[in-house]
C-alpha cells in the first residue's frame, strides 16, 4: 500500500502489538493465553508489516532462511528439553523430577520448564504465520 497515513500509524503501532504478544507468551503459565495465542499476536504484527509495506520489505526483514531456522528451532527446543527429562529421569518431558526449579507458585520464574516450552512454541507460531502470509503473497504475485 502506498498510503502515507497507514504507514505512519503502523510504524507506531507494531512495537506495542509485539510487546503485548510477548507479555502473553511469558505469562503463559500464570494467566490466559500461552504459546499459541501469544505467538499469533506477534505473528499478526509481522503480518501487518508485510501487508502494508509489501512483500519485498518483509522478506528483507525476515528472510525465508531465517524463518525456516526459527521454525525448526522451536520444535527442536521442545524436543531437547524433553530429552533432558529423559536422560535424567527416564521419562520424556519430566518436569519436577528432572530438576527444573518449580519456584514459588504465581511468580514469573516458576513451574519448571513450562515457560521455556511456551517461549519455543510462541516463536514458532509467529514465524509460521508470517511464512504462510509470505507464501500466499508470493503465489499471488506470480499470476
Amino acid at each position: 500500500m502506498n498510503d502515507l497515513i497507514v504507514k505512519l500509524i503502523s510504524r507506531l503501532l507494531i512495537p506495542f502489538i509485539q510487546l503485548y504478544g510477548i507479555y502473553i507468551i511469558l505469562h503463559g503459565h500464570l494467566s490466559f493465553g500461552g504459546g499459541f495465542s501469544g505467538g499469533a499476536l506477534v505473528g499478526s504484527s509481522l503480518m501487518l508489516y508485510a501487508i502494508i509495506f509489501g512483500l519485498k520489505e518483509s522478506e528483507k526483514k525476515l528472510p525465508h532462511s531465517v524463518s525456516q531456522f526459527i521454525e525448526s528451532f522451536g520444535v527442536l527446543a521442545y524436543i531437547i528439553i524433553g530429552f533432558i527429562g529423559m536422560i535424567l529421569v527416564g521419562s520424556f518431558l519430566s518436569n519436577k523430577s528432572a530438576g527444573f526449579s518449580l519456584g514459588e507458585f504465581g511468580t514469573l520464574f516458576s513451574a519448571g520448564m513450562i515457560p521455556l516450552l511456551t517461549l519455543a512454541i510462541g516463536i514458532k507460531v509467529a514465524s509460521t504465520m508470517i511464512t504462510l502470509l509470505q507464501r500466499l503473497l508470493k503465489e499471488d504475485s506470480h499470476d
Binding site: E71, S72, V75, L76, I79, G90, S91, F92, L93
Partner: protein
C-alpha cells in the same frame, strides 16, 4: 531399552525439523534420510526383541500418573507393527530416491522427505499411544501430511484428488472428535484402559451417550480407512499421487487407521458391548459389500494405478471381515492380512511405479509385451498379483485360509463363499495384465528379453519385498506366533 519407543517416535520428528536446514545437495539429503531411516529400523528391531523377551510394558510421559498423562502401551503386536512399518518404509524410501527425480522438481525433494518424516512420526505415534486424545492429535497430523504428499506434484488431478481427500478426512476427524467428546463427557478419562473400566460400569447409566460415541467414531474411522461406501476418495487420491506416496498411503496409512479402530473396538469398548449393539453385523456386511464392489469397480478400469487402488478397497474389506467377527481367530486373521496386504500392495505399487518411470505409460492397453522389457518388475507384479488371487505359497493364500477357518469356526459359512467369489473376481482383472504383458507382442518393438532400464535403488526394494511375500507365504508362523502372543491384550 525402555526408552526406545520415545526415541522411535521422536527420531522422525527430529529429522523432519533438521532437513530444511541442511545444504540443498541431492546426495547429502538422500544420505541423511537413509541414515535416519536405518537408525529407525535398528531401533525398532531392538525394541521388538526387547518386547519379545521381556514382555510388554507401558511408558508414561512426564512422569505423571497414567490417568493424567499420556501413556504408551507397547505389546508384542504393536512392536511387530512398528518394526514392519519402519522396515517397509525404509524399502519404499530407497525406491523413492530414484523415482522422485522424475516426478518432482529439484527444490521440492527436501520438502518431500520432510513430509515423509512427519508421516512416519504420526504413524508410529498413533501405533504406540494408549490415550485417545493423543490418537486424535496424531490423526490430524497424519491427515494433513498424507494430503500434502499427494498434492506435492503440482498437477491438476493431484490438486483435485488431495482436496477431496482433505475435505473428507476433515469431516472424518470432526466426526471422531464429536465421538470423543461424548465419551469424555461420560467417563472423564482419556486413557484407554481406564476409560474401558469406567465404561463397563457406566454403560447402563448413560447408554445414549456411549451409543452416539461409538456410532460417530466408527463412521469417522470408516471414512479414513476406506470401508465400503466411504471409500470414494481412495481411487483418485492413490492413483494420482507419486508412486512412493501411493505405496505409503495404500499399504501403511490406511492400515494404521484400522489398527486405531481395533483399539477402539476391542480395548475401549470390549466385545460384549459391541456385540450387543450388533455393530459386528454392520461391519461384516459393509466388509463383504466392499470386497465384492471393490473388485467389480476394478474390472472396468483403464489406468493401472486406479485399478490397484480399487483392489485396495476390496482387500481392506477382507481385513474388516476378520475384525468384525469379534473372535480371537477372526482378529488374528484380520491382523495377518494387514501385514500380507501391506507387502503385496506395496510390491504392486512399486512395480507399477517402475513401469511409469521407465516407459511413461499408465494405461493398460499400452502394457503389451512389457514383461520382456522389464522382467524383474513384472515378476514382482506377477507374484504379488498371484498372491492377491490366492495361489498357494504366497502370503495372500495364507490369509484367505486363516479367514476361512475363522469364519467357519464362528458359523458364518456364507461369507466364505463371498471370499472365494472375490478371489475369482480378483483373477478376472489381474490375469489379463499378466497375460498381455508376457504374451502379447508390442506393436513397436520386438519382444526380446532385456534387463530392466531401472537404477539399482529401484530394483533392490522390489526384490526384497517379493522375497518377503514368498517367505511369509511359506512360513506364516513368523507373524502368526507374535499375533497370537498379543491377543490377550485385546480380549
Amino acid at each position: 531399552m525402555k526408552q526406545f519407543p520415545v526415541l522411535i517416535v521422536l527420531l522422525p520428528l527430529f529429522s523432519a525439523l533438521i532437513i530444511p536446514l541442511l545444504p540443498k545437495k541431492k546426495r547429502f539429503l538422500f544420505g541423511f534420510v537413509s541414515v535416519m531411516f536405518g537408525l529407525l529400523f535398528i531401533l525398532s528391531i531392538l525394541s521388538y526383541l526387547n518386547v519379545i523377551n521381556d514382555g510388554s510394558f507401558r511408558y508414561v510421559f512426564g512422569n505423571y500418573l497414567a490417568m493424567v498423562g499420556i501413556e504408551f502401551l507397547i505389546d508384542p503386536l504393536i512392536a511387530l507393527l512398528v518394526l514392519f512399518v519402519s522396515g517397509l518404509s525404509f524399502l519404499i524410501i530407497i525406491y523413492s530416491f530414484s523415482d522422485i527425480q522424475h516426478e518432482l522438481k529439484e527444490h521440492q525433494y527436501a520438502y518431500y522427505y520432510c513430509l515423509i518424516m512427519l508421516l512416519m512420526f504420526s504413524m508410529l505415534g498413533m501405533l504406540y499411544t494408549n490415550d485417545i486424545f493423543n490418537t486424535y492429535v496424531f490423526m490430524e497430523i497424519l491427515s494433513i501430511v498424507s494430503t500434502a504428499i499427494i498434492s506435492i506434484k503440482h498437477k491438476r488431478s493431484n490438486f483435485l484428488a488431495s482436496f477431496r481427500y482433505l475435505m473428507l478426512s476433515s469431516i472424518g476427524s470432526l466426526t471422531i472428535l464429536m465421538g470423543l467428546a461424548f465419551l469424555y463427557m461420560v467417563t472423564g478419562q482419556l486413557n484407554m484402559d481406564s476409560m474401558s473400566l469406567v465404561i463397563s460400569n457406566v454403560w447402563t447409566l448413560y447408554p445414549t451417550n456411549l451409543v452416539l460415541a461409538i456410532g460417530f467414531i466408527l463412521i469417522g474411522l470408516a471414512i479414513k480407512s476406506a470401508m465400503f461406501p466411504l471409500h470414494i476418495w481412495l481411487p483418485d487420491a492413490h492413483s494420482s499421487a507419486p508412486s512412493p506416496s501411493s505405496a505409503f498411503l495404500s499399504s501403511l496409512v490406511v492400515k494404521i487407521y484400522i489398527v486405531v479402530l481395533i483399539k477402539v473396538i476391542y480395548r475401549i469398548f470390549g466385545i460384549e458391548i459391541i456385540a450387543s449393539l450388533r455393530i459386528d453385523d454392520f461391519i461384516l456386511i459393509m466388509a463383504s459389500l466392499g470386497m465384492i464392489f471393490g473388485s467389480i469397480f476394478a474390472i472396468g478400469q483403464k489406468d493401472i494405478k486406479r485399478l490397484l487402488a480399487y483392489s485396495s478397497v476390496a482387500q481392506i474389506g477382507y481385513i474388516f471381515l476378520g475384525i468384525g467377527l469379534l473372535t480371537p481367530l477372526g482378529l488374528a486373521a484380520g491382523l495377518f492380512h494387514i501385514f500380507s496386504h501391506a507387502l503385496m500392495k506395496s510390491a504392486l505399487f512399486l512395480s507399477a511405479g517402475s513401469i511409469i518411470f521407465s516407459t511413461n505409460k499408465r494405461k493398460l492397453i499400452d502394457l503389451d509385451g512389457i514383461g520382456f522389457k522389464m522382467p524383474i518388475t513384472m515378476i514382482t507384479f506377477s507374484i504379488a498379483a498371484l498372491g492377491m488371487i490366492g495361489i498357494p505359497g504366497i502370503s495372500g493364500f495364507m490369509s484367505k485360509i486363516y479367514l476361512g477357518l475363522a469364519l467357519i469356526a464362528d458359523k458364518h459359512p456364507i461369507f466364505l463363499s463371498l471370499i472365494l467369489l472375490s478371489s475369482f473376481l480378483n483373477a478376472i482383472y489381474y490375469m489379463p495384465i499378466l497375460i498381455s504383458s508376457f504374451l502379447k507382442e508390442d506393436v513397436l518393438v520386438k519382444n526380446t528379453l532385456q534387463k530392466d532400464p531401472l537404477p539399482l535403488t529401484m530394483i533392490i526394494p522390489m526384490v526384497i519385498i517379493t522375497l518377503s511375500v514368498l517367505l511369509i507365504g511359506l512360513y506364516p508362523q513368523i507373524i502368526m506366533d507374535v499375533i497370537e502372543l498379543a491377543l490377550p491384550y485385546y480380549f
